[in-house]
Amino acid sequence: MAKVGAPEKLITKDGLRLDGRRLDEPRPVKLEVGILKRADGSAYIEQGRNKILAAVYGPRELHPRHLQKPDTALVRCRYNMSPFSVPERRRPGPDRRTIEISKVAREAFEQAIFAEHYPRAGIDIFIEVLEADAGTRCAGITAASLALADAGIPMKDLVSAIAVGKIDGQVVLDLTGIEDNYGQTDMPVAMMPRRNEITLLQMDGHFTSEEFEQALELAIKGCKILYEKQREALKTKYGGP
């Protein structure tokens, strides 16, 4: 994809976005569970142009041993972007941004996982971004949550995540890359939809407090849409109703 200049408008006159979506409409999502043979649990997500793999290993022996916790399992998470996942080649390896995302993604799951069932053990979550178009941390969390369920790890609830933002002064759901780059605000939200508990909330940009309330409501609505897709994906794998 060649670099495109700033679009004149992100929302057209008839109230639709550049890709034809309504303001409160998420991108099309495809979810698949259990696609990696050698991982204990795995999932794949396509959300718009995002393509992300998630894998879970464990609970397993934790090394190095000094990290072991006597009363609970240690949850570790690695978010990584492939060099070919963005238009301009990305230098491989962790950087400031991916280290931060790994941390907040881990914290989004720590709320949900019953880690205390597995003292001294480790649970490892890997989020590999193969193609990125904004909202990868959210899509990664959505996929990793399915991978955790696929691995048979006990949880209070699934975790679903989606971003909301402000473009052309309007609050919208699930930003694309262009909207993220030329919009005003990006706010990723992760939550446990059944329990209505938010486990991740970050914000880049500005909202007025009214806009924030509106955006949060929209994000919760978006998470619940994704939650239904997650349920469907899990049920499809095991041929249930």
Binding site: D40, G41, G58, P59, R60, E61, P70, D71, A112, F114, H117, Y118, P119, R120, A121, A149, D150, A151, G152, I153, P154, M155, K156, D157, L158, M192, R194, R195, Q230, R231, L234, K235, Y238, G239, G240, P241
Partner: protein
């Protein structure tokens, strides 16, 4: 007091299963008087209002009195370290192996169990830090000689064994193999010839693959009889 899902229906983590005076068992958690699923699996409402979820996946978690097939990975002074396919290594102390005193200056303990040996052992203690102690001091326990080892998902072992041992008996009868299925997901097979062993392994892997389907015993029986007819004549 109500159960919100049908027995044997599929639940995912966080699903509300029942409310009221029920007992929350494996694969569930309780908040006030509500019982939720904590893992992906099938609901099972048992006698005495016990609710559990039969998981589709998951690691083996040892319980006291489990009989497990373990592999010796190390000997540390007078304790063997055993891999039992759990998130934790288990300890097998020499006291739980030998029934007489040995002089360690004379006798090397590796003589009894060497690194790499397969053992059939029993879990005798687990503490809150999940330190696991094993014993091989009971009839039927000890070293496994020869044979072959198949690894399957630990949650599928009850299906291999079948209701009161019907499935494993079927395989044993049809293939004339000795078969030991242990709750940690390891199945040991020893037969008269490799064809029969292969057939038993084939049957076990088929059961693992199709564990959640019904009428499996009949299909396994059919497969074993057909294959046996072809190979042995």
């Amino acid at each position: 007091m109500a159960v919100f899902v049908e027995n044997r229906s599929l639940v995912i983590p966080g699903d509300l299963i029942a409310e009221g005076n029920f007992k929350a068992s494996d694969g569930t958690f309780q908040e006030q008087d509500r019982i939720y699923a904590s893992v992906l699996g099938l609901v099972d409402v048992g006698p005495n209002k016990t609710i559990r979820v039969i998981p589709f996946a998951g690691k083996y978690m040892p319980k006291i009195n489990d009989v497990v097939i373990g592999k010796v990975v190390d000997l540390r002074f007078i304790t063997w370290i055993i891999d039992i396919n759990a998130p934790y290594l288990a300890d097998l102390h020499a006291n739980e192996v030998l029934d007489r005193k040995v002089d360690l200056t004379e006798i090397d303990l590796l003589r009894f169990y060497d690194v790499g040996d397969l053992l059939i052992s029993k879990v005798i203690d687990i503490d809150e830090e999940k330190n696991i102690r094993l014993t091989t001091k009971a009839p039927g326990l000890g070293k496994l000689h020869g044979g072959r080892l198949v690894k399957i998902s630990p949650v599928k072992v009850p299906r291999i064994i079948g209701r009161s041992g019907s499935m494993i008996k079927l395989i044993k009868d049809e293939t004339k193999c000795e078969i030991l299925a242990s709750s940690n997901g390891r199945v040991w097979i020893k037969g008269k010839d490799s064809n029969l062993e292969n057939l038993a392994i084939q049957a076990i892997l088929k059961i693992e693959q199709e564990a959640h389907t019904t009428g499996l015993t009949d299909r396994i029986k059919e497969m074993l009889q057909k294959e046996r007819g072809e190979k042995i004549g």
